[in-house]
């Protein structure tokens, strides 16, 4: 139990745990202390802006509430009851406004700007400053995605503290001192990395703004739709800002256990792929002489029915892992119940043995030992997890990239994370967790970072639709490619070669053209209602934010299903209700929740034994190549101009020791070779890489596989 202390704020008494900040203490008493620079997620208060100034009995000088913590018997007077504090606060606002331009009418922040709000509430009514304001060139891009208006900047240092202390990229900094201080990057290089966009939300004024949103909407024209990001397996909670049926912006929607209010740049900026020029809006059919041509929905469904029947039970469905649970279930029911075909290509392996080690992601921050295995940068697979690991390290945790049994056993709270190939869907970490006795130990657990946002949910939904086993068949009558990620997968493409016919569900032209017989328009996660299961096993609710340009998957799947005598509702809540009875313990759609709790699988066994660990491979000559799917890759990212600069350069990452042993300097051009194939890439020495491993983004790896040699 923490000690409670008694504090009086503006004559109201509250009891708070000792050490609680005064801003929070006042809030507990129902009193708001205005702040600009203070943002608890950035660490301790720094007392820079002086907005939170209060009087504390016994201390002659005004104090900043954001840097003061509660002690027993403390008597705090905020600007509401202290003349001195209110003069101080008013002074702070006056000083802030001395250089702030009066361009609110053309500022994208206008209407949702803390400075505007606080000026209205506490500020001076007129200006006494009659001299020239400080002027700067405006706005300047600090990256293709973010623009900076230095005149509006109030130097609260939120953005630079985020860069230094949260994302730890150290790229956004203050330059010069005093009145001439400005926010900048090094030599005007673009601010890059997985998390840059967060500064646009942290900035309490209109200084840092997303370029995509420039002049796009005013606050009274928009709605913020609470939904979940569908770009990776973390499932950050977001608000989609919608104007006239179109998504204009993605904002974070703090889920303290999942994302703490941070989202990655893919989740933030990639939404505009929904408006890509090559978006498929009508079904298209292959026509012998003319290639492809659009067809009506009736014709499309006739064709789909024909192909399904012609396959005679030899249908295979390749899932992307980005389908909603409902979509995957609907597809499964159509194919499995309707045509008696039970074979699916799942986007990734799924195991239930990890369930016994489930934790909220935020538990990583509180761990003493975090072991990250698998050799793919966490930020590439599940970016927000990287921030939790960084937070753990700042809290004093040991973060290891090799499994040290002793360290794990010795820690009260240990977390294992698998990020990379060879994880067997989590079975590998589950086996280690089991071996190291983490089962049932509070604060201990294991995570597997899947490559797809809803691979687990899609697999479970597929399984729930029928108990039949796939029959042994030699040939594939029909391959259904569900989604662009599947369409992009070389294994799926290889199977398509063998299939007698192919139906593809795709958002974009070009992906399935040339090899599918029928292409049906796909939708984005922003256009769907439904649920996703994230990497924690948390069931979360997606809300339709934008209207899809064509009927969504559930709509036409239900129609098609009825042609096969299968009853399937066209709406997510009803599909969910049916499915929920089978795997989610009857949980109602409406109860999934705005800020979903980590429920675990209702009715799931408490423990599923993890499959045994594979024998360690014999030490190999050369370097083990790990190819990874970069965060900034994929069909959506490729269609967003503002993200192109973030795509990985043609690089090979090496451990320092391996580079030194080969006389390779950081940035040098090197040859990577394997079995006669070789490629030229730039070398980058990566601090987080184990000796003996090299890493290349999949799109730059060509045909390289397995063990490779790297030479200067």
């Amino acid at each position: 139990m923490t000690d409670l202390v008694r504090v009086t704020v503006d004559e109201r008494e509250v009891h708070v745990p000792k050490g609680t900040g005064i801003v929070e203490t006042a809030l507990a008493a129902g009193i708001e202390i205005p702040v600009f620079c203070y943002e608890p997620r950035l660490g301790e208060g720094i007392g820079a802006c002086r907005m939170c100034i209060v009087e504390i009995e016994g201390i002659p000088k005004l104090q900043t509430a954001c840097t003061t913590t509660a002690t027993d018997g403390m008597v705090v007077k905020t600007a509401r009851t202290s003349k001195k504090a209110s003069v101080g606060q008013n002074a702070t606002l006056e000083f802030i406004l001395v250089n702030h331009p009066l361009d609110c009418p053309v500022c994208d922040k206008g209407g949702e700007c803390p400075l505007q709000d606080l000026t209205f509430r506490y500020g001076p009514g007129n200006t006494r400053m009659t001299f020239e304001k400080l002027t700067f060139e405006k706005p300047i891009p600090i990256s293709p995605a973010i623009s900076l208006d230095r005149e509006r900047c109030i130097l609260c240092y939120r953005c630079t503290r985020f860069s230094e202390d949260v994302s730890e990229d150290g790229q956004l900094v203050a330059r010069n001192r005093g009145a001439m201080s400005v926010i900048t990057t090094f030599e005007d290089e673009p601010y890059s990395g997985p998390f840059t966009g967060n500064v646009t939300e942290l900035c309490p004024v209109g200084a840092l703004l997303p370029t995509q949103y420039r002049f796009e909407a005013r606050p009274w024209e928009i709605q913020n739709v609470p939904t979940v990001c569908g770009m990776c397996s973390v499932g950050c909670n977001v608000n989609a800002t919608v104007r006239e049926g179109k998504v204009k912006r993605i904002l974070s929607r703090n889920h303290p256990e999942i994302d703490e209010g941070w989202i990655c740049d893919k989740g933030r900026f990639a939404f505009s792929h929904t408006r890509a020029a090559d978006r498929i809006v009508d079904p298209i059919k292959r026509v012998r002489m003319h290639g492809f041509e659009p067809v009506s929905w009736d014709d499309a469904l006739d064709e789909a029915e024909r192909l399904l029947r012609a396959a005679q039970g030899r249908v295979v469905v390749a899932l992307s892992g980005s389908e909603t649970v409902e979509q995957a279930y609907a597809m499964a029911k159509l194919v499995r119940v309707g045509t008696g075909s039970h074979e699916a290509m799942l986007p990734e392996e799924v195991t239930h043995s990890l369930d016994a080690y489930g934790l909220p992601l935020s538990a990583i921050r509180d761990a003493q030992v975090v072991v990250v295995l698998g050799d793919v940068s966490v930020a590439e697979r599940a970016p927000i997890v990287d921030l939790w690991i960084k937070a753990a390290r700042r809290n004093g945790a040991r973060v290891l990239t090799e499994l040290d049994d002793h360290a794990v056993r010795g820690a009260d709270r240990a977390v294992l994370i698998w990020s990379g190939p060879g994880g067997r869907g989590g079975a590998t970490v589950a086996a280690h967790a089991e071996r190291l006795g983490l089962a049932g130990k509070e604060g201990c657990g294991a995570f597997y970072l899947p490559e797809t946002p809803n691979g687990r949910g899609a697999a479970d939904a597929w399984a729930a639709a029928s108990d039949e086993e796939p029959a042994e068949t030699e040939s594939v009558g029909l391959l259904i490619v569900s989604g662009d990620e599947a369409a992009n997968d070389p294994n799926v493409r290889a199977l398509a070669e063998k299939a007698e016919s192919v139906i593809a569900i795709s958002m974009f032209h070009g992906l399935a053209a040339g090899w599918a017989d029928l292409v049906l328009p796909g939708t984005s996660y922003l256009e769907r209602d439904g649920t996703y299961v994230n990497l924690e096993g948390r069931l979360q609710r997606l809300r339709r934010s934008a209207m899809p340009p064509a009927p969504d998957e559930l709509a036409w799947l239900s129609q098609l299903a009825s042609r096969f005598g299968v009853e399937l509702a066209p709406h997510a809540p009803m599909v969910f209700a049916e499915l929920s009875e089978r795997i989610y313990g009857g949980l109602a759609f409406g109860e999934v929740g705005e800020r979903a709790p980590l429920r675990g699988y209702l009715g799931a066994p408490a423990h599923v034994e993890a499959p045994p660990l594979p024998e360690p491979e014999a030490a190999t000559e050369g370097l083990q190549l790990v190819c990874y799917k970069p965060l900034f890759s994929g069909p959506a990212v490729e269609r967003v101009d503002e993200l192109q600069f973030q795509r990985p350069p043609a690089e090979v990452e090496l451990a320092r020791a391996d580079a030194q042993a080969r006389g390779i300097a950081n940035g040098a051009t090197v040859t990577v070779s394997h079995n006669g194939t070789s490629m030229q890439l730039r070398a980058r020495i990566a601090k987080d890489l184990r000796k003996g491993i090299v890493r290349i983004a999949r799109e730059h790896a060509g045909d390289l596989r397995g063990t490779v040699e790297v030479s200067a």
Binding site: Q171, N176, T184, E187
Partner: protein
Amino acid sequence: MSLADEIQKVARRYPESKSAILPALRLAQEEYGWLSREAIEEVGEALDLTPAYCMSVASFYDLFNFEPIGRHTIEVCTNVCCGLVNAQAVLESFERELDIAPGETTADGEITLRAVECLGGCSTPTIVAIDQRYRQSVTPEDVPAILEELRNV
């Protein structure tokens, strides 16, 4: 010894290597005369800090140059204590003789002239730091001889 080695040697004297950023920037500036992009990147690399961070720190302090400067620097104190006893005449004399304004470098790249804040030598005004070494009690009349001396170095 390479600059990186030198920096790392200095860094080892501190409990935390980041503390060596000022000596490291100083070493880099001694090596190159000013803090070019490459110089800052070298400091960052040696101390495992981002170049942006190093630039941010360097730009906080007056003694670092972000543009090439002259072979010699002349810094005239123009704070009040020297000003009361005519530092401006000394500065003007340098301006006249060099034909440049404070903050500028002579066309031949020899001399950079600056006005600076109190140098801590107020009892012997005007204080002029020539290549970072103080000259005390400098008068306007001393200026030609000082320049003559510098040009012969």
